[in-house]
Amino acid sequence: MFRPEKLSRTVIIGSKDYLERTIELLHELEIVDIIEYSAKGLDPDFKIGKPIVKSSGASDQVLTLRSSAKLLDLDEEKHVDKKMTIDEITKDLDGKIQTLEKEIISVTQEKTTLDEQLFAIDDQIARLIPFSSISIPLENYFDHAYITVFVGSVQNLKKFEKILPSITDEYELFYSSDAENVVVLFVSKSFRETVFQTLTDCQYTEIKIPSGTGLPVNLIEQLENDRSRIHDRLETISKNLEKVRRKHGEFILAAEEYLSIEVQKAEAPIKFATTTHSFIIDCWIPTKNVEHVKKTLEDETNNALYIETLEIKSEDDVPVLLDNPKSVKPFEFLLDLYSTPTYHEIDPSFILSLIFPLFFGFMIGDLGYGLLLIIFGYIFIKKLKDNEGWYNIGRYIIVAGIFASIFGLFLFGDFLGLPFQSPPHETGQVIYSWSSLFSTNIPIQSLIHKTETSGITQLLVLSIIAGFLHLSLGLIIGMINERKHSIKHAFGKLGLLFVLTAFTLLIFVMAKWTISQWLVPLKTSAVASFLWPYFITPLSTSFMFSGLFIPYATVIFGLIGLLIILVSLGGLGLIEMLEIAGHLMSYTRLAAIGVAKGALAFAFNVIGIGLILNGNIIIGIIGVVVLVILQLLVLALGSLSSGIQALRLHYVEFFMKFYKGGGKKFEPFGYKRRYTTTQ
């Protein structure tokens, strides 16, 4: 669970007579990651294998099918109820593909031509529109023997209108009513230069006269007729395509999959080393499966293959196959989003799967929102089970919802942003609570009220505790990871752990043990005689230094940490010391998001409940609608920020303490069949 699956490096050697059968078997097994053979640095007698020839046509057919699927807009994530068998697909495959190609390509070609025509028509109409209000046939826009024509937009039209009469009165000016500042000016040719100069001064931009003859209005009408005709034709075509899609869609997907698999198998030898008569497959197999693979291959080939497991060398680039229980699997997705772990380090998926929802739930911290999250997560899982990403997110939401409900019920005593009971010492302002709204006493206490100053301080202290535990865990994992690699670095992490403890104690004493009221019940318990004299008193004994309480423990732990860091990491370690203080403070976001979300929900509740309790029934109904919308808004915003921040605490603060990443994923040779079945 904390380590990736153990892999064994295995070589399979055999005669080329068994090549195809071996590929077939490995493909079916789907647990072998083949290492690509590189010709560099090996015996010159070995050559890279050549693809198996028989399926050269298959790759062309795959291309045809893929382009058909694209043209038909087939949904490749589609879930099919009945998978096709190989026999069904291979029956007259070539013939079927040829007919399909003809049917689809002729239709799509017409579609493309019509689309192009439509585009041209739209363009032409757009050009004609500025001229539609001017009743001059298009052929008259060109220069005549004594008259020159200017067509274009004039930004500074007023100025031009003023100047033009002073140049000449031998002109005619037309205005377009459909486009701003567009004018057509007919003017005597002898004034051409002067008028052009004036036009340029008034920011004139020439417009190209559209091609065609006759009145623009008539042309537009004609073009619009053409357009609707093409539209009709296109509709018929898309109906035809829909028919083709319904008739052949599943076949296309299944055949594409079948042929892709064939191509994949045919191209497999490219990864092998070969001699004239034999082949060598170098591969990774999960250690627990080695015997099974060996037995299958030997049985099916009558012991014609030589199979040997090799020692893993330190320079081997071992692929990583994460090995987690089914409930943790969805969280591997979050790890992949960051980076795949390497083979030799601890796989933090399990920790991520526990602490990510814990933080998320802590920030939401509300029974009502928690239950809503569980419901939404369930809907995600049911509705979007074909999409792995959304399915995973659904899982996260459910687990986070459970944690949010627990925190909401036992720690915050909140339901949809309202506490079950009002805070004990309110000052003047009206604070709603479920108990006060229904005039009953709901016996669920809030240990922390998010909207009170003391509550916020308690939350901050809790966040620091969470940060301390989380970072310590990170440092301990870091020590475990580093112990084989470099004992110096492992000690460095130990030093940081001391410094972290020193900082945390300092913060506690400075916050005057805000949570000490929770320790009170412990005072009467059996552990009190042990806890106080040996634990709490020594840790909290402190001295005054320039107005601040500094616990002796902080000084002692800090000095020990500093010493270890200086010895193991040197001066650079001091930077890490500062960094760890920053990281610890960074966990206060747990409190900050929780309070911000709580305050937002509280404010919205005051607005909504105020409207509902107004007395007027219509305003009351509006209040209900407003409240529902606002509550959903709080939930959406709160979940988004909580999710991102919980993830960030892992990626940045936690992972920086131990995680290297950059591993290569284990990719078994095989194919995940969606549309076909070998049975």
Binding site: L337, Y338, T453, I456, T457, T588, R589, I644, Q645, R648
Partner: protein, 76 residues
């Protein structure tokens, strides 16, 4: 407990500490956000990574928040 005038000044200081640090965060996020969106446009896989980079400067505003609370605790 501090005098009434000092209380006002402390409250202003708390407001400034969170306000100015929020501006600093926003400034940093502006720069990172631009680059992250650019990277996402080129490669969809960068979305998750970009989102993470995006929230990194939020630590700055958290420091402001913590200082604000430390200041406020002097008043009440």
């Amino acid at each position: 407990m501090v005098a009434a005038e000092a209380e006002g000044l402390i409250a202003i200081a708390a407001g400034l500490s969170i306000g100015i640090s929020a501006i600093a965060t926003a400034w940093a996020q502006k720069e990172i956000g631009t680059a992250a969106v650019g990277a996402t446009a080129e490669n969809d896989k960068m979305f998750g990574r970009g989102l993470m980079y995006m929230v990194i400067p939020e630590t700055i505003v958290l420091f402001g928040l913590v200082i604000a609370f430390m200041l406020l605790s002097k008043i009440t």
